[in-house]
């Protein structure tokens, strides 16, 4: 399998965990995998991007522009920020719930993510998911990442099956959160397969 997958969000949204689940699932299916995370100086609240490159022919650790098959975005502006990486016939799976910059209270820009979603829809194939609604049963925004991952797996575009990811969740998520993570992931897969 040859696939480039970009996962992006804001520090604290679980971008790194989602990318680890994808990378290790792909490896367990016998693929060669490379990945790279770009995290700036911000501990929380900064833009975080994770590049996962599946296949033998990936040399650059960062996906070249116009090469990503799928973008998983946990935040609308982060999807736009990374849109140059997407293939022309690629797909973006985007959480519509915005994360305001931490400087927003000092300098109100009125950012609410809506412009971003409109723009994304005009530029590429995308599935927009309201993760707040999708995760309402799980009581926390901390499951947005696995829910969006579920949507992507559900569409079949990642080339990864539900069972393999569920196994990875068991291995990589702290025991007390495994069940809720699985439920949020499965809720996402349903949305994904409905959008196939």
């Amino acid at each position: 399998m040859n696939k480039d997958i970009l996962v992006c969000g804001v520090g604290g949204q679980g971008t790194v965990l989602a990318s680890k689940l994808i990378a290790s699932a792909a490896m367990n299916l016998g693929n060669t995998v490379h990945s790279a995370e770009t995290i700036g100086m911000a501990q929380r609240g900064g833009s975080v991007t994770s590049h996962i490159r599946i296949g033998e022919q990936a040399y650059s650790p960062i996906i070249p522009h116009g090469n990503a098959d799928v973008i998983l975005a946990f935040e609308p502006a982060e999807a736009v920020r990374n849109l140059a990486y997407l293939k022309k016939d690629g797909i973006a799976i985007v959480n519509s719930v915005p994360v305001k910059p931490v400087t927003e209270s000092l300098n109100d820009t009125g950012y609410d993510g809506r412009d971003m979603i409109t723009y994304l829809k005009s530029k590429c194939e995308c599935i927009v998911v309201d993760a707040m609604e999708l995760c309402s049963g799980f009581g926390s925004t901390r499951y947005f990442n696995v829910a969006i991952l579920g949507v992507a797996v559900g569409t079949g575009k990642l080339g990864l099956d539900v069972e393999t990811i569920l196994k990875e969740i068991e291995v990589r998520v702290p025991a007390q959160f495994v069940d809720t993570n699985k439920d949020a992931f499965l809720a996402g897969t349903k949305v994904g397969s409905a959008n196939k």
Binding site: A36, E37, G45, Y59, S60, L83, P101, V102, S105
Partner: protein
Amino acid sequence: MRKEYVMGNGAIALGALEAGIHLVSGYPGTPSSEIIETISKYRQGSVHVEWSVNEKAAMEVAASASYSGARTLVTMKQVGLNVASDPLMSLAYVGIKGGMVVVSADDPGPISSQTEQDTRMFASFCRIPVFDPSSPEEAFTMIQDAFDYSEKYHTPVLFRPTTRVCHAYASIEINETTNPRPYEGFVKDSKKWVIFPRLSFLNHAMIEKRNPEIGRDFSSYSGNTVSGMGKKAVFTGGISYSYVKEYLKDYPDVKLCKISTPYPFPEQFALSCLQGVEEVLCVEELSPFIESELLKIAGSHNLSVKIYGKLTGHVCASGENSADYAADILSKFLGTAAKKGIDLSAAPALPLRPPVLCAGCPHRASFYAVKKAMEGKKSYFCGDIGCYTLGNAMPLDMVDTCLCMGAGITMAQGFHWTDPDSTCFAFVGDSTFFASGMTGVVNAIYNEADMILCVLDNSTTAMTGHQPHPGTGRNMMGHIVDKVSIEKILAGMGVPKILTVDPLNLNESVKAVQECASLKGVKAIIFKSPCIAISKPEKQMTISDKCIQCKKCIREIGCPALITAEGKVCIDKGLCTGCGLCSQICPVHAIGGDCHE
């Protein structure tokens, strides 16, 4: 054998363990820090691993271990190499016995550094070999080769990955067991191990004779590779090789030459690559190192080849390369089509997400206390390297200067001598204080400067990922050790006024600053409160309906947990740690809750 999916830094660590290292020392610095952390996790047998107090100390600890015949690894970021350059320059003359590899991770961009310096230039300056890996996989095998060359030529060698190699992940196949190589022990020989002008003179001559030999040896090194053919050639190395290779997948009619050992330059290899070539593009980051070497070769061999790169303006002189930038310059060089992604020219303005001090960070409270205490008085605020450099951001705006590790302490003294009526502050973190702050304090006492030292003691090395240091009471061998007390160090130096305060107690902190500001000489305030990223408090502030929406809390301290929703001030419960600073600022006491006090 088993496979491990690791970061480039992990691959370097595992490669060094395979090479049989006995001792590893270093100082944290992005992008190099995970090397020592990985060694600490995977080490077996008698391997000694330490976070040294700074890079100079790390280099010296490793030097004598290497004199004893043990294989040693030293790790740092590129600016750390400046700190370690004193021992390294001399060590290059003296030489070593057990293989010694110095990893100095470069940071093109720069992404998290003060400079865009190039460790390859440092190698050439020191007259010692340097290896330049292009991927985590290559780093794993290359560092093992680096140990062999180090021993073969009795010289320390540099190994310089860059950020994108350090932070990329790949699968590495490792042995289940690794053991340090046995070593002979130190053999006394003052003609060999004691540097004197006579020894330096003799060894300098030996080094200049030896280096062209190493260059010839490197010409057949497996890491220097050539593929493809044609009249156009691309010379590259390090991560740029990966970017170029990514683009040239579709263009086999180009010669691709990889230089993995930039110094001593593999001249014979480069000459053979240049045969039949009319035009060369050099794709490299930081300095035009390969380009300059090729120009020398072309000149001394009268080659009629055109060489393009940074010196000719074909490649950007500064900043980091990327797969996209490489594709861009290669398409111009080859006359091929540039690959275009989605056109984003009409994208809406993106929200900026600048780095800020975390919600509840005790540094915010320390800066605010000094700001309040010194309101309306002429003061200088000298910052330093660490999370607290972010004290420069609005609304705190409390960092006037930041230069290099420990510099704030000595720079505060320079301001005192040019403006004696002002109050000069130096802000330094606990790890930075141990690394390079202490001598600056002695300098102030001895030379009678007036200054206030503010040690922002959060009991960790926060910026680089929470490494322990001498003040934390634990080390990388997993031992609990006596904490080195900053207070006692300062007292021992003779600092007459040392106050230790909790920065989250605003009144107490402001009073401490005012008291120190009224005194002559060197004064110290230790603002002691743990980093919230490791102490993980789960307390929360609340805002009552007494709030008059004056927004003083937001305007004064800029805590990310203080937000507005529908025009009203509220607390972001996902971020608040209950530090209680805002409750001490509120003019109508509307903020309370389960706070720090």
